[in-house]
Subunit: 203 residues, 4 copies
DNA sequence: ATCTAATCGAGACGGTACGTCGAGTCTTCCC
DNA sequence: GGGAAGACTCGACGTACCGTCTCGATTAGAT
């Protein structure tokens, strides 16, 4: 990962001499960042507001994060760290169906606005783009890829290109979120699952 | 369409007195807008630069367009007006395959950066969002929808949800464009077509 | 003079094409600058406060003045432009005595704080230093120098170094203003005049 | 004296428990403060730089001095403690002449920049102002005042206002130092002495 | 042949957010 | 308890872009 999110591991080991980073302030900053992000969206969130709400100073923000995007990236990362664990029902299709339903539930909640701004920022900021992939996209894709591999040759055709298949189940969600030509609903998750599985099942 | 692109009809009818709009200036502005958009992206394109390159004044820009987004939207619209006509080979699958290939060719060219910024801007500006759908997304979708309806019940299963199906073929292109986790290539268009058609063909 | 105070002459002649400078805004900025200067002193005057009080934006300030010092220099210059004309009583000694009294009156008023900050700023900013000399010091010195030359060989010894003599009558005022070891009073002007003239009169 | 320079007496008497003040650190701080002061001037000297060059921490600086000015004041005081002893040649005029020459030598050396900043800081900080008078100005003035009193009624007119006279010999040096309209040279010391003594000698 | 009104290029304007810097305070560990 | 390291708050700095406005100059149709 790039410098946008610094590695916290070394910190806890080789506690340098000076005053340690104020973890409470860090938390307050990330909390107010997320709150503002979900309230105003990415573009309308300013560092001044984050600082003020957090009771911190802008200097502290800029000491630890290179710019506004970096703060918001980390705030979102912490918020979504444990979200969307891939269900394991014993039925691949049902796993995917539930995963898509949960994802849609996330995107249609307050988090949706944050997500949209996140993807938007990634278009003009390579660091945000990289962070978006590493923090959010890659883990979700790795989960379903492992799951697909488990079922490969069983209920799943062996010759399917997994990367493409993963695109196929996730892309429509991003597409509707970002383009907004049609709503994201739970039924959409079901229909999408059905259609995709129609093309990949063993006959 | 919203106010983002003003209706040119009234202009030509009620030609009041006074100096008429300078169409050359309009063209120069849109040209330099597109040029800048493709060079710097949406977020880094400023109205001052557009005006300077066009040899126009900012006032002229804001007289005819409500804001920066409106100029760029129209610039892009003019540029893409005639692009991506849906091929008609007599084979539905081949039509889609070629369409996706052409779209990918577009997105991987200079136009890609413009598109990315366009989608990004849509996330925080409802007018851009509306324009994006009306100017670009809806026409492409209407084309393929009509084509799908022509083949419905023939080489295409009759019970397929067309809106979902259209999502399925276009979404992965936007997804890879915006997330950037994997490259967009012509082979990708082929593989995507194959996988989608595997689920929708008549057996 | 350096760039700290731009030449306004060309402006009025070759009125460039664009929107002309808003002279009202300029006046409001200089007025609020002077007001703040006399109220808070040089060091405590901020551009934000000047802008706010003037109903102007910081950008406008920085468009016309290179930094805070430049604004305050010009504000002070306008304020003192017509001040301290050298009296002409027909008696050299009386002229000087009255001039020193008037100068002391100025320095002990609200203007004194402004002056102190002005000299202070000149110590770390060469442009302020240059402006201080050109705007304030040099004109006063030129006035008295011309006067001294008029009386040279008459009531004034012909061999006196005029530059040194001018130092001798003005320096003590700056000295007491800046060091503050003793008060500046009108009697001080008289005593100073007496002592200096004791050394330069024809016997 | 105000709090700007704390009384060192208590320290040495009531050596409480704990580690005593590190005199080496104090010296390093004052040395680097003076060095930085002469190199960059008062305004451009930062506490961070002083601390870094001294291998000390800012906390140590602020434990012993109330603010940046206090450190620089003390640094300068130590540096000038033994400087400019008033010569005693048996000839009052020669004493003054040499004293002025020595002062000018000081001001035109590296020390000059420090002095200028010192006076500048005094304009917005009463504590610096007080320190400037107590540490530097008053002792010099006391020296020459005693000398003048010794010669009063002898080579010096008895009715001269000594405070004014002292102003008259020192003020021009500060004036040229701070305003910079003309150079400070040794010849200037001579000419100044001559002119002043022309007004105060017994005839 | 004016008059009138809308347009044009130029560029100054108010506003808002940015990211930086220095002063002075506070917190941790080490001695 | 003193000291080095260094994180912290506060507040000012100077910059950049947005969208508006005000000039003088231009360009047509209306009178």
């Amino acid at each position: 990962m790039s410098s946008i999110a610094r590695d916290p591991v070394d910190e806890s080991i080789s506690r340098g001499r000076g005053r340690p980073r104020d973890e409470v302030a860090r938390t307050r900053i990330l909390d107010s960042a997320l709150e503002t992000l979900e309230e105003l969206g990415f573009a309308n969130t300013t560092c001044d507001v984050i600082a003020e709400r957090a009771g911190a100073s802008k200097a502290t923000i800029y000491r630890w994060w290179s710019n506004k995007a970096a703060v918001l990236v980390e705030a979102l990362r912490e918020a979504v760290a444990l979200e969307l664990p891939l269900p394991d029902t014993g039925d691949l299709r049902e796993d995917i169906r539930q995963q898509l339903r949960n994802f849609i539930k996330l995107l249609t909640g307050r988090r949706g606005l944050a997500f949209r701004g996140f993807v938007a920022a990634a278009q003009s900021d390579p660091e945000v783009s990289e962070a978006l992939r590493l923090v959010w996209v890659a883990p979700r894709r790795a989960d379903v890829k492992a799951r697909f591999e488990r079922y490969r040759g069983k209920t799943l055709r062996a010759d399917v290109d997994l990367e493409l298949l993963i695109d196929l189940i996730y892309a429509p969600l991003y597409y509707r979120l970002l383009i907004g030509h049609a709503p994201l609903s739970e039924e959409y998750a079901d229909a999408l699952t059905d259609l995709v599985f129609a093309g990949i099942r063993l006959h």
